[in-house]
């Protein structure tokens, strides 16, 4: 690891003045002068430290965001929406009473991530912006498409943990488990630009698949800071559930994770469903087939099973990851029943 300068931003204005580059842009520019002079923002630092140790990123200066009080709060907005500061840790998310009560799938997703040690340091903002864990991407020996190379090594290589949907020239899965739940809740992210301009983007649109951009996973602009995640006020009758399955239960990446948000009417019928698959595609994968299969239906074993099959329709598994299809089918069915309180 190379040496770097370190500053801690006391407030958002100071962080914005730092003139930061995005990690993706810096890596895309490497080994050019833009990369050598890069100022990189640090949240929990989990992924940043990994990238530096892997020899993929060598920032000239690191600006720590953890000391900015306004980014560390969870607050209910007038009208019932929830604003989660980008520096809120996964452990805080998992333990927050309001999130547990209203956005249960998010608390479950955050609480099941990584290890207790990492959850106490990793932030929601950093979690959403972390780079993919694909071992070819993480290897300095593999000049892969996401790093500007010509090929995706996963297509012909070890792809057991890779995507089963949407591998347009790159087969990564999005590494954030929290994002799976957030997309199911129709969350948005708040971004503040270098001149202080705020914009709000639906998370689903903020995250970019390889068909849009092969070298970055999101639409963060240079100098921009992700300041908060916004969750819409829960509608009456909303229930949610998140399930993750790793090969190991402790400290392992999921091979599949599923978030289900059901809006149930008084008659027990499902008015609207959100079904999102994580570790399935380069971005959280919204299973529209499953969502429409559930709309207007009473939730029971049979409806859940049909929706699970619909969720996986059109999957394009690679040579070594077709096993994920039945794993996802089981998880989707169980998560639907879990959300409906029938697990």
């Amino acid at each position: 690891m190379k040496g770097f300068a370190w500053t801690s931003a006391p407030d958002l204005a100071a962080a914005l003045r730092a003139g930061s580059a995005t990690v993706a842009a810096t890596m895309a520019a490497a080994p050019g002068p833009a990369a050598a002079n890069a100022v990189i923002l640090k949240a929990g630092g989990i992924d940043l430290l990994d990238l530096m140790k892997e020899g993929l990123l060598a920032p000239q200066r690191i600006v720590n965001l953890r000391g900015i009080p306004e980014l560390g709060r969870i607050a209910e907005e007038p009208g019932g929406a929830l604003r989660i500061g980008a520096m809120v840790t996964l452990a805080q998310l998992a333990g927050d009473p309001l999130i547990r009560a209203r956005y249960g799938a998010l608390a479950q997703a955050a609480g099941g991530s990584a290890s207790p040690q990492i959850r106490h340091v990793a932030t929601l903002g950093g979690n959403l912006l972390q780079r993919p864990r694909c071992w070819y991407f993480r290897s300095i020996h593999h000049d892969c498409a996401r790093k500007g190379g010509r090929q995706c090594f996963a297509f012909m290589g070890e792809n057991q943990y890779h995507a089963i949907f949407g591998q347009y020239g790159c087969a990564i899965v999005h590494p954030s488990t929290a994002a799976t739940a957030l997309v199911a809740f129709d969350a948005s992210v708040e971004l503040v630009g270098a001149r202080g301009a705020r914009r709000t983007v639906a998370l689903e649109n903020f995250l970019l698949g390889p068909e849009v951009d092969l070298q970055r996973e999101n639409a963060l602009a240079p100098g921009e800071i992700l300041t908060a995640v916004l969750l819409p006020a829960p509608k009456p009758g909303v229930r949610s559930f998140h399930l993750r399955q790793g090969e190991l239960d402790s400290f392992d990446w999921p091979i599949a994770d599923v978030a289900v948000v059901l809006e149930l009417g008084r008659d027990g019928a499902c008015r609207r469903a959100g079904v999102v698959l994580g570790a399935a595609a380069p971005v959280p994968y919204r299973a529209r087939g499953a969502e429409s299969a559930l709309a207007g239906q009473r939730i029971a074993e049979g409806t859940a099973r049909s929706a699970a099959i619909a969720a996986l329709a059109g999957a394009t598994p690679l040579a070594k990851n077709a096993y994920k299809v039945p794993v996802f089918e089981a998880l989707v069915r169980r998560a639907i029943l879990g959300a409906a309180g029938q697990a």
Partner: protein
Amino acid sequence: MRAPGNVPGAYALEQMIDELAIRLAMDPLALRDRIDLSAVRREERRVGAARFGWSRRRAPGSDAGPVKRGLGMAQSYWGANVNTNAACEVRILRDGSVEILSSVQDIGTGIGTLLAQVVAEEMGLRPEEIVVRIGDTDFPAGPPSYGSITTASITPPARNAAWRALRELFEAAAPALGAPPENLIAKGGRIATADNARSLSFREAAATLRTDRISVVASRADDYGGFARKMGDSASARNALGGVQFAQVAVDVETGIVRVERVVAVQDCGRPMNPRQIESQVHGGVLMGMSYALCEERLLDRRTGHVLNADLEHYKIGRSREVPEIEMILLENYQGTSATDAYGIAEPANVATAPAIANAVFNAIGVRARQLPMTPATILAALGRIPGGRARA
């Protein structure tokens, strides 16, 4: 990795014997009683089956839901191996301190503790009163750290050197105690006459030395052998070590996830020197065996030749939430052919775990995983649940 070579072999052999029993419509334990000549393993099967509750074993697929439970067992064989070029020096210094020196190295298995224990027992002292100096090639030759041979190789010369050093101390202290040296004993930190009528503290007895120290070197090569085989410095005692393990697993047939819920490990290692250390070794053996069975795999990219998972993020080993309930039953199996009669435990405790888990998986779901590790991809392929029948290459 532990017990290199043996675990893959046992994984195949022990599953074949399980399969043979099923083909013969015999209980796997009953078949082994017929074909396994080891009296030690026979007893290990008996006590293990009772503790484990082998009689609760049902036919594959007996559970109604997606999670199927199964019970399995497997056995191990390990030589009672010794390296005879293993020596140590025991010193009694005139200030009453006692030291043991050997170039044996402690790779985390606790041999330093055992050496202190052995010398202390011989000299009537407490283990913490013994200074252990190891891992320096200036000291007498120690055994290499492989094959689970360390304890069997180095503790007998430690006892012999201590015994002989003590005889010299008795010679020196005999006049002060007014008794012939052969009538002296070492007990409770004192050197005493056999009738306990007169005694000196160990320190007072050491002060009678005419020179600054007693120094005795003993080697395993001088110890009485009882070896079945000997080639160069490598030898094996007559009775090999057994080991029988029982495993209970839960297999989710929809996700292919295997979880090990309970392991009963029945092991023997001659005379147990330190049961707590042995239990720790057995836990390590079972945990590494479980990881070997379920998740460990070195992944090489076939096109570029790079290892893809050379880190603890992607190279998977079982962690805290994977740990099953582990019970150890230790069988004391004396051979009477060395001064400590101790043999190895680390690798033997690792051999039977993976095949016991595999046999339990078969008992749970009625299909056999013929490759390692038993990941969801392997299990779902074995169950024929992967669309297009695409299994892991």
